[in-house]
């Protein structure tokens, strides 16, 4: 059996394996949540153990992307719906948080207007638009960060799944959806800051966003949220509901003939996934300090899909690993040779679809088995055919 065949062969999912991976993942998340803030806050900047603040924020950003990847994996890996518009849900959640942070600036903006954000003063607006009401309250903003993406996903999914739009058609129209939203948010008169988006945030719940402690706390919060979402997704895919969802992915007409209302299940997963993406966006914005319509760009959503594909779809933890690893690679490569990043990303898209359809996580056991088998064959062959060993190396 060649490596390629072994890698692509279906892997029976052992019940214990997911649990082991979950434990490892949650341990790592807990370690990050505790150790990184600790090393950042307690160690002196000169110390070897000190974690610089920019790294704390960078890590937080990666984990937010990982959460987006998790939401995509839930819908794509388990339900077979390839959404090329998940960036829209992410950005909507981010805008909800951004609106709260804008309202927190108060009269500390450039124009010193206590009621209106700077860009509205700049546009000569006299009063706050109605849809900005309530965003000065943190709980309301957080509910909106979940509710708005959820509502959009509900309306969109209800229309799409009911009329059985599926496959590439669905992918294309999700892309059109995020593209339309991008164009809309670029408009100044939408009331979301137009081209520049929302930025210049000052504080969150009264804590200064630039302070090390706030950043450390945000990282810890991201870890907790990611862990929670992971457990939620794990619980769903392990339940009977999860089996049904996987069955829809594998043979939708058959599930329908068995009497299940397929579109309702799909809608449920789609909305849940959108809400996780929205939460990821809401955590992302205070850590990077800006949200603008560029987040809606279709290219971003497609890029997020490749994180999942590279990590390994249908595994949840694979998506998280992919989200972190690909973004780490992006940071490193764009820092070293900026032109090479798009080449690398493109090559990743091609390589992962052609050679590693199961991603890193899915291919790992196969690769280990293959190496073991190879090693076994070699040790068996060594006494009689020493040349084979050299050839093997």
């Amino acid at each position: 059996m060649s490596l390629l065949q072994r890698l692509t062969a279906p892997q029976p999912q052992a019940p214990g394996k997911g649990r082991l991976a979950s434990v490892i993942l949650l341990t790592i998340l807990a370690a990050i949540a505790i150790l990184v803030p600790l090393l950042n806050l307690t160690q002196a900047p000169g110390s070897a153990l000190h974690v610089p603040t920019y790294l704390v924020s960078l890590l937080g950003k990666y984990l937010c992307f990982a959460m987006l990847a998790l939401s995509i994996d839930l819908i794509w890996g388990f339900c077979g719906i390839l959404s090329l518009g998940h960036g829209a849900f992410f950005a909507l959640g981010g805008y909800a948080m951004g609106m709260y942070l804008m309202r927190q600036i108060g009269d500390r903006g450039v124009y010193g207007n206590a009621e209106l954000p700077d860009f509205m003063v700049f546009l000569n607006w006299k009063e706050l638009p109605w849809y900005w009401y309530g965003f000065d309250l943190f709980p309301f903003a957080m509910v909106m960060a979940l509710f708005v993406p959820g509502l959009l996903a509900f309306v969109f999914g209800w229309l799409a799944f009911r009329s059985r739009v599926s496959g590439v058609y669905l992918s294309i129209i999700t892309q059109a959806m995020t593209y339309a939203l991008m164009l809309a948010f670029f408009r100044n008169d939408m009331g979301f800051g137009g081209n520049n988006g929302l930025t210049d945030f000052k504080d969150l719940l009264g804590f200064d966003l630039q302070a090390d402690t706030t950043r450390a706390a945000l990282l810890a919060a991201t870890c907790i949220a990611l862990g929670g979402c992971y457990l939620l997704c794990r619980a769903i895919v392990a339940s009977k509901l999860g089996r049904l969802i996987a069955a829809i992915r594998d043979d939708e007409p058959r599930v329908r003939f068995l009497g299940y209302r397929v579109e309702n299940f799909k809608l449920f997963v789609f909305v849940l996934s959108a809400m996780i993406a929205g939460l990821a966006g809401a955590l992302y914005v205070p850590q990077v300090g800006i949200i603008n319509p560029g987040e809606f760009a279709p290219a971003n959503s497609i890029e997020a899909v490749i994180w999942v594909a590279i990590g390994g779809r249908g595994t949840l933890y694979g998506a998280i690993a992919g989200g972190v690893l690909v973004n780490y690679a992006k940071t490193v490569l764009t820092g070293l040779i900026p032109e090479i990043w798009l080449f690398a990303l493109g090559a990743m898209f091609i390589a992962v679809t052609l050679f590693f359809p199961k991603g890193l996580v899915g291919s790992l056991p196969g690769a280990i088995d293959w190496l073991k088998a190879k090693a076994g064959a070699r040790s068996a062959a060594t006494p009689t055919r020493p040349l084979a060993k050299e050839a093997g190396e």
Partner: protein, 552 residues
Amino acid sequence: MPACRRSGRFRFGFLMVLFTAMALLAPIAVQAAEDLESLVAELGAAPLPKKDEVVQRMIATGAPEVVTILEALVERDLYTRKSDEKVVIGRKASGGLMLLDPVTGEELGVVGSRDVSRVTTNNSLRSSVKASMGALTLMSPDPQRRLEAADGLLKSSDQTMLPLLEQALAKEQDAAVLNALQLAEASIKLQSESAEVRLSGVQALSDRTDPESRVMLSRLLLKDGDVWREPDENVRGAAEETLASMESRLRMWRTVEHLYQGISLGSVLLLAAMGLAITFGVMGVINMAHGEMVMLGAYTTFVIQEGFRSAAPELFGWSLAVALPAAFLVSALVGVAMERGCIRFLYGRPLETLLATWGISLILQQTVRSIFGPTNREVGSPEWMQGAMESVAGITLTYNRLYIILFSFCVLCAVLLVLKKTAFGLQMRAVTQNREMARAMGIPTGRVDAMTFGLGSGIAGIAGVALSQIDNVSPNLGQAYIVDSFMVVVFGGVGNLWGAFAGAMSLGVVNKLLEPWAGAVLGKILVLVAIILFIQKRPRGLFALRGRAVES
């Protein structure tokens, strides 16, 4: 410059007409000339305060020679010959003054400056003559001069000029001058004392739609405090009515303009989407790198044009003709390479294909960016594609868009011919309808796939040549059109060129018709939302293929 050449030819034609008219009017001219002669003599003899009146009478004759005479008067070149008291024009020549007959223009020989005395003028006479000259130039043989005169009249709105203006109107042949004269006439009439004349002025404007005449009419409907500017109710009513009919005609013309823009946008979309529709139809895969094929075509045009510029600039007009097959070949080769190297391994996994082709598109984009740089590259248009057609009501239809419309229809016809009349087209349609059955019948589906991909990509390359004429050539060129071309394919239905055609045209036209009403961006958003909703109703597009294959 073709525009100049065109107008030059036009001017020549006009002159021909003018000469013919002059030949026909010759007997009348003789009559006027006799009058003029006595007037000229009178001008020479009259005392200074009377001269102005004589000038006015000369102008009233409407003879073209008056211009020369008055110009001479203003330039102080008008003399009285001492020998016979004849008024003559003197031009400086070697050995004194060359005398000319003011009416006939005949040369009367060179005399010394003592043999003539200058016709006396003063500043006030000269300036009043200059003012009257504005009107006189209405009769000038040079259309440019006449146009200036008409514009001057429009500004001054001198009531006394009306009879002369009407004379000029009756004779005028040049369309642009006629237009300006009519406008001036109406303007003068509208400021007349008599309500009847004002009413006729309003009626004179009824066939027009230009902004000047609309301003004139709407001025009549203004109030200064409680007093109407226009006292007469009938005139106001007529003005209101005329204004309304103007607006409606203008709206119609604007709609025509938007339709034209919509069709031109639609044909661009058609070019970009045609290849996509074919590959999607035959192979069931979405080629996310399709936009990059368009970009490759545009860059091929750029390279070819650079070659022409450096090697044979005089043949530059032919560069597009060379670029078309070259762009087709380049994009088609890249397309075939893509299909053979990547997509065929992903057969039956459309979502993975989508991701892989996206990866290819990123690589192609970055390659082009590395080679040609991230900035816009300039692609020139051959002369025959520049310029614009201008029609009434200020609508401009640019030629390059017109050629693109024609071109996209040609490409559509060519592709239809390939599909319907060639063996390859037959095989392609067979594979589109039912792949398994086609294979069972001995059609080499793999080769058909590769050829289809090549054809689709080649058409995208051709689209790139067309797009290079109206858009910026940059590495992001393809990205700008990809979502729209997807929408066209999804809206029109896959694997069906007529679907792509209907989709592209309706998308383009609806987009442009919405634009003035909702703004460019909002219009586009509305179109996207409409398509997303439309897909719910017809998940397989406007022209869905029927058959077993599509049900799977």
